[in-house]
């Protein structure tokens, strides 16, 4: 099998050119989907018979929670590619994903906490999902901190890759232990109404929101990656040409 296409994928210049063409379309699509999903969910869905109107937070909470976890897994894959194939682009992707994933993780925590107040009567509750998400935030913060602490680009790349891999092995262990710990300590009054079988009127805007956030993540990642590519390839002629032509896009 011809593997050149795979190695071409790792070329920063090629990625810069391709992403420049796709970016406007992806951005428009993401904006449309996000607006429609969120507005539909906010205004055009019936209130939940159990939770009233506060369940509308789900359209922010579930996509960001999914993405926070998916981004970490993507970082782990990028870490493997960095260590095994030593592709620079993979390391750049790892570096750029981290702040996005951390911000989504934080948003998931905050939206979950605020949702908890009318639903469970308290701002923070140590249920299994919130606790696992909090630990995921610690993992993100660790990777970002390690990246900042090591000056040399190559060393930082490999060190962050190893840390992300150790974290990803740890995630199932954490999930299991926190879930088990929580079921032991869970108060009798708590009811986890995370994902009951959803009525289709509520399911569709949720799916659209999830798709919107995935697209949004892609767009933002591409934005960051393009800047990172310019930064790391600043000695090449093609970057000088682009920069000289003005920072259009």
């Amino acid at each position: 099998m011809n593997w050149t296409f795979f190695h071409k994928l790792g070329s920063p210049k090629w990625f810069y050119e391709i992403s420049g063409k796709w970016l406007p379309w992806l951005a428009i699509l993401a904006a449309l989907l996000m607006a429609s999903g969120l507005i539909w969910g906010l205004m055009f869905t019936p209130p939940d018979y159990l939770q009233g109107n506060s369940y509308r937070i789900i359209f922010l909470h579930v996509p960001t929670a999914f993405l926070a976890q998916a981004i970490y897994v993507m970082m782990a894959c990028a870490g493997v590619v960095t260590l095994v194939w030593k592709m620079k682009l993979a390391d750049m992707a790892l570096k750029c994903c981290a702040p996005i994933g951390a911000s989504f993780c934080l948003l998931a925590l905050v939206t979950g906490a605020i949702w908890g107040k009318p639903t469970w009567g308290t701002w923070w509750v140590w249920d299994a999902r919130l606790t696992s998400m909090l630990i995921l935030l610690f993992l993100y913060m660790g990777v970002i901190a390690l990246r900042g602490a090591i000056r040399n680009t190559n060393t930082a790349a490999k060190a962050c890759a190893i840390l992300t891999l150790v974290g990803v092995i740890n995630i199932p262990i954490i999930k299991f232990s926190v879930q088990w710990w929580n079921t032991l300590h869970q108060g009798a009054t708590l009811k986890l109404t995370e994902k009951p079988s959803m009525a289709p009127e509520m399911l569709w805007p949720l799916l659209i929101s999830i798709a919107a956030f995935y697209l949004f993540f892609t767009v933002v990642l591409i934005l960051r990656l393009r800047t990172e590519i310019l930064d790391r390839e600043r000695r090449t002629k093609w970057v000088h040409k682009i920069v000289a032509a003005g920072a259009g896009n």
Binding site: N53, S54, I57, P99, T111, A244
Partner: protein, 120 residues
Amino acid sequence: MYFESFASLIHMDGHGMYVWPTYGIGLLIIAYNIISPLRARKRIVAQIQRQVRGSQSRSKSFSQNNSLSQKKSFSHKKSHSPAADHQPGATDDLSEKKKAAGPRVKVSTKNQGVREGEVE
């Protein structure tokens, strides 16, 4: 629309004060994720532009000074050679290197985990 009036949309049967601030925070995070890369791009592009202009003007002045007798590496690209750092006329290079954020060569030899370009 499941809300009769704009007021009831904001109020949401008492849950409005949870839903709307949540969406506000969500909007903030989305805005951060858009603005932060755009600002970083402006900063990096300006940096690279400065660097390119700097090395262009320096290469012009060097070529004017007839560099046949001097060793090479008046451009940043060749600055791995140890001779560059020991040249008396290369002090401009050193200070320029310290100002520019080029990651390849660091002239500091402190123990900061940096091994590239150490010229001991």
